[in-house]
Symmetry: C2
Subunit: 431 residues, 2 copies
Amino acid sequence: MTPDERESPPPGPGEQAAEGSGRKAERRGISRRTMLAGSLAALGMSALREARLAVAGLQEPADPTRVPGRPVSELGMRAPTESPRRVLRDGAQGVSLTPLQDLRGIVTPADLHFERHHAGVPAVDPERWSLLIHGMVERPRVFTLEDLKRLPSVSRLWFLECSGNGGKFYDFQADWSPQQIDGLTSTSEWTGVPLALLFREVGVDPAASWFLAEGMDAAVMARSIPLEKAHDDALIAYGQNGEAIRPEQGYPARLFLPGWEGNANVKWIRRIEVADRPFMTREETSRYTDPLADGSARQFSFVMDAKSTITFPAHPAILPDKGWWEIQGLAWSGRGRITGVEVTTDGGRSWAPARLQEPVLPRCHTRFRRLWNWRGDTALLASRATDETGYVQPTLKQLVAARGQGTQYHNNGIRVWRVQPDGRVFLEPEG
Amino acid sequence: MTPDERESPPPGPGEQAAEGSGRKAERRGISRRTMLAGSLAALGMSALREARLAVAGLQEPADPTRVPGRPVSELGMRAPTESPRRVLRDGAQGVSLTPLQDLRGIVTPADLHFERHHAGVPAVDPERWSLLIHGMVERPRVFTLEDLKRLPSVSRLWFLECSGNGGKFYDFQADWSPQQIDGLTSTSEWTGVPLALLFREVGVDPAASWFLAEGMDAAVMARSIPLEKAHDDALIAYGQNGEAIRPEQGYPARLFLPGWEGNANVKWIRRIEVADRPFMTREETSRYTDPLADGSARQFSFVMDAKSTITFPAHPAILPDKGWWEIQGLAWSGRGRITGVEVTTDGGRSWAPARLQEPVLPRCHTRFRRLWNWRGDTALLASRATDETGYVQPTLKQLVAARGQGTQYHNNGIRVWRVQPDGRVFLEPEG
């Protein structure tokens, strides 16, 4: 625990009833359970919840100390009363979003990591899989998965964000959750072999400057990557959160480019071709370029700029009572460490620093927290991240002024949440 | 990537065949797949693997680039060709062990976190659950789960180890894996409310010095904990790796005491009683004390001493070929950060420093790695951890000399793996 966390002000004495805020809230007629369960709650008890408890063998009156519990198991399962889920969008081949508002800390469970595919999740047999490295190299070579796993490995906690994350903000709805707006970002501990090591094995031509990364999905996703990223920190990754990468994250192996837009982190990678120029693939010409207001475009805009978003309170959370609440959210930057996050509760008239969860890791989600004494009136909440390069997260207005509305990529504008006097929270149109 | 990782020597040019080590190994007549699949492999292709691929809809000859992949999903699943599992021991109510030899990095997936129960996993309804804090306090109080979640929270990556971990070493078998010997340790990102904050809420009597933590399982697990641990870093934890704590880890909430023996981290916690002396429960008198050689005993031996174990190469891994291999393992200490891990390949005649995976976090698994050029003869591998207090992991002989063989708790002796000329690896009787 860091010193500043020990010094956090506790909730004020009068702010929390001795019998618990939930029960106090019920006296006011609004409780989170009531609101979330919707019409089912009118029955006095959620039928859905009853069903879940029944499935789990949870008998309501049972005293757990009177009956032996269930035995140990080879593989654990979530509690039947917990059901975090990705939200699907843009059809079956498209997108699934991480439930940011349901998560704690910085690690995203692997089965909740966002997805973005161009032709679905291919079924790849790891024993038939291989990676060819060729082009401007001395010794072209095919690496099997066993070859890669034998080589020195690296593991790091890094975020991965789709460059389209937040792009829907231009036509957002007020009742969207953090997941629905910005759920195309997740953090895992990635393990793999440094691409620099593979390039030493094959002997890259000193005149080379780019490489092509090609996937084995039905879209044959291909992107050109500057060679220097390989010398910096790129991996061929085969591990995620301690285990094998999940199929939807590129099993058995993917390119991983810390801090760079998700699309360039080619999944199910099968081929790398080294060259002295970019290849101008579909995904870096007609797509994944950022049209600017003046008619020109940003191309190869790989790095994800600093960004943050409040995950609580945010829709669909409901504050059942005024008083002390802990505002929480995530901040990250493709350029390194987050050095600060400021929080406003008055729509940007005043900002105050949030605490950052230690350790603050480069190119990794950083959780921020700030206690807030809600007085029960309308409040406008927002967060603003700064990274170690001094870059400050812009407002949406500043972003549009710089780039126009022609692109849905790299939308890292400040998001604003309106807390209503009834405790409900909605997304504001502009940060 | 840290500088020392960039400077790692690559595999020697002559050590790896261009067509991949796996294929070379098959020519020698030993491959990992053959050994692992056992008799099924005699059919030329593992029937089990075929069955798994069939279930997954993986058709062997299919070119994944020619067919659309499966759609996005609300919840991911592992690849059908991957099946990490906990190993069960001591009956259904007892123990399940984390597959250390199958994991990468430091994060343990929540469904592979070890289990140790005294009466199974109770089914607890989170809406009926509450935590009573009473005894030597000014304002006894019942906290609901909603109350706890409203309070300021902390998230940290911490290991959790059962004090019985490695205790089976005294009657080990040579063909045990790291999982079977030392699999009662795991690392998660834990989230919860500092117990110190709850104690401020209830107003602890200045004369108090201990508290009782009591669970709501059928064993009604209860332990006495010194009050100072609450002031240091103890949590009432409700989150694990980003999501709600799993049922077998104490859902909906448990006591978490960073660096202290697992048993004291009471799961399904329902009651805390503050007092001015320990309660002398069954679990701290007849159990979880360490009998010493002289007939006395260590009681309240909470802190887990520094320990490390090699996870590769270790049984059942088989080295198909001599040459460069990356020795890997985990080190941890209940007293803070690991400051160094040394590795020997000659049974302790010489030791060399391993690289430590960054960031090195206090009271957290730390992965170590060291490249090793295996010459194909018998080798004795071991690791030795040092923590920030200067404590050095002892040999098993040193441990027995100090404590006798009367206890199975707190066995942090050095483990030795014998690599045979045929590439098979077995546990040695003594470190």
